[in-house]
Amino acid sequence: MTDLDLVLGDVRRGMIPAHIYNDEEIFRLERERLFGRAWVFVGHTSEIPQPGDYVVRRVLEDSFIVARGEDGEVRALFNMCLHRGMQVCRAEMGNASHFRCPYHGWSYRNDGRLVGLPFHKDAYGGEAGFRRKGQTLLPAPALDTYNGLIFVSLDPDAPPLRDYLGDFAFYLDYYTRQSESGIELRGPQRWRVKANWKIGAENFAGDMYHTPQTHTSVVEIGLFREPKAEKRKDGCTYWAGNGGGTTYKLPPGSLEERLRYVGYPDVMIEKMKRQWSQAQLDVIGRDGFMVSAASVFPNLSLVHNWPRVEDSEDVLPFISIRTWQPVGPDETEVLSWFAVDAEAPEEFKALSYKAYLMCFGSTGMFEQDDVENWVSLTSTAAGSMARRLLLNSRMGLLEDSTTVVPPLPADRFAGPGEAFVGYGEHNQRHLLARWADHLERPVEKLAQVEVGGAAAQNATKAVSA
């Protein structure tokens, strides 16, 4: 048995070797076996509404131009000139019909096709020496969208995104499909924290237990009325497909009363009623649960809270979408967006944005205290003592691995997957079990693309298929 087998075995039984939160070797495996394969969120179609609009986003070190072509199609193009490897786009957003490499002047249309190659005939003898026709910036091996959320995978054989999300799509709709128009995304705020990327993903996936402690201050100042310990543990955590999250228990009432309780105006509630399935409505109206934080494996998280944004009793809900983009074993770039239903009234959008700024993101009063903890954990995990410590992540399980409370039956929770009321680390274990599944499986040999050679066109086809 190798050291890795031991680590993964411990993780699978809910005992976490503390060093996995700051370990070069683990990070190398994550880069290759996890981020080399999984679907990774890079942006939303509302960020690039017009032909030529683009944003530049990364999957670890790999920079992709996520662009809408003149044909309206969204593509993710590897941001590396086919000639000498320069970045062909050095801005992070904008609108362009072409990207021209500053080094030797090769230029590409916004669909990736190579259209300008200075001195093609003089230098290469034209097509006979370099086949310009059919050459494109390397597309991401796989790209797919759900509710406008754009994901890429570096694995050409990745399963369809919808299959990958599985039943989590049911919950994703609460955040990203409150009306037929879906969300518009603003931002992201970007900042770097000296914390391992997994900690945030685990926290958002299921850590209701930290809320009353870490976030005491936001209750004390009247920002958010919910997280008091007694109230938080009445909520449930759920896991479905490749994601899971937390909920709050709402006071008794009808669907409409409960949606009003978290601050939605009637005009939005009517749209939700038309948009969501009966089961989606029942989770709120019949069962009394409202989604809060959630994570999709590996590093996409969402949050939905409803703070007070003015000196009144009214609350306003907001939605944030974020990725925990690994920079190294001890550093993560957070990209945090504000999301709001595109059909929401303008006044709602403004106040929801204010609610977001007060709670999450670079200045958010929730987020500030989270990151302080995660930086501290990461720094402590680097040493040799951390290699002797198996952190207990078995909350919600007895020694014989039966659950402390039974899962919610279908007549008390209408959503798919498995849900438990109260504190537990079920979702963190789900997340890390998937992490272990990826880390133990070596990657296939990478297909290579030969630029401009006779074999090039076939090879390109193979990758983009």
Partner: protein, 199 residues
Amino acid sequence: MTAPTNTTGTRAVGSPLGGHASRIQRAGRSLPFSDERHLQAHHWLVEEAYLLDAQRYDEWLDLLADDVHYLMPVRVTTALGAGYDTSPGMAHFDENKYSLSRRVARFRTEHAWTEDPPSRLRHHVTNVRTFATDDPDHLVVDSAVLLYRSRGDVREAAVISAGREDLLRRARGGGWLLARRTIMVDDAVLRTQNLAIFL
């Protein structure tokens, strides 16, 4: 070219929450350094920096007008000629007095973990230029600020560099109040764990 600093006051108007912000703009060239108004504005900024370093935030709040708009856009890297260098519709701070007062109130609780133990802060303020406006009770003041933020013992300190455009309003009973501030941070990706500080 990035937008010249003498237009930053108009950014408040474009921000989603800046509707209430004072629209007063600078008039003319910067005042001589010997001008009494410049001396007062510079003095105000240095006193404010002292309060922010010492985290005496209740006293700092008293320096803010009731209709203050406190804005820190998110900077983005865009091509030369794109015409914008901030993220449309997004900011780090887009605050009024109520939201700032909640931030200050949070630091007063015993549970704002991110500042317990507190950071060691130093706001270095320089490049101060003061401008008259069409209203004798208002001044526009540009400054540069470099914040050094050190936490714990051996963690690398965070450094935040920014330009600021302030609108100062003469207070009844003397002194000046901050009526509008736009903070143009010089990083697109912040290198600090959060903005549990003020600039």
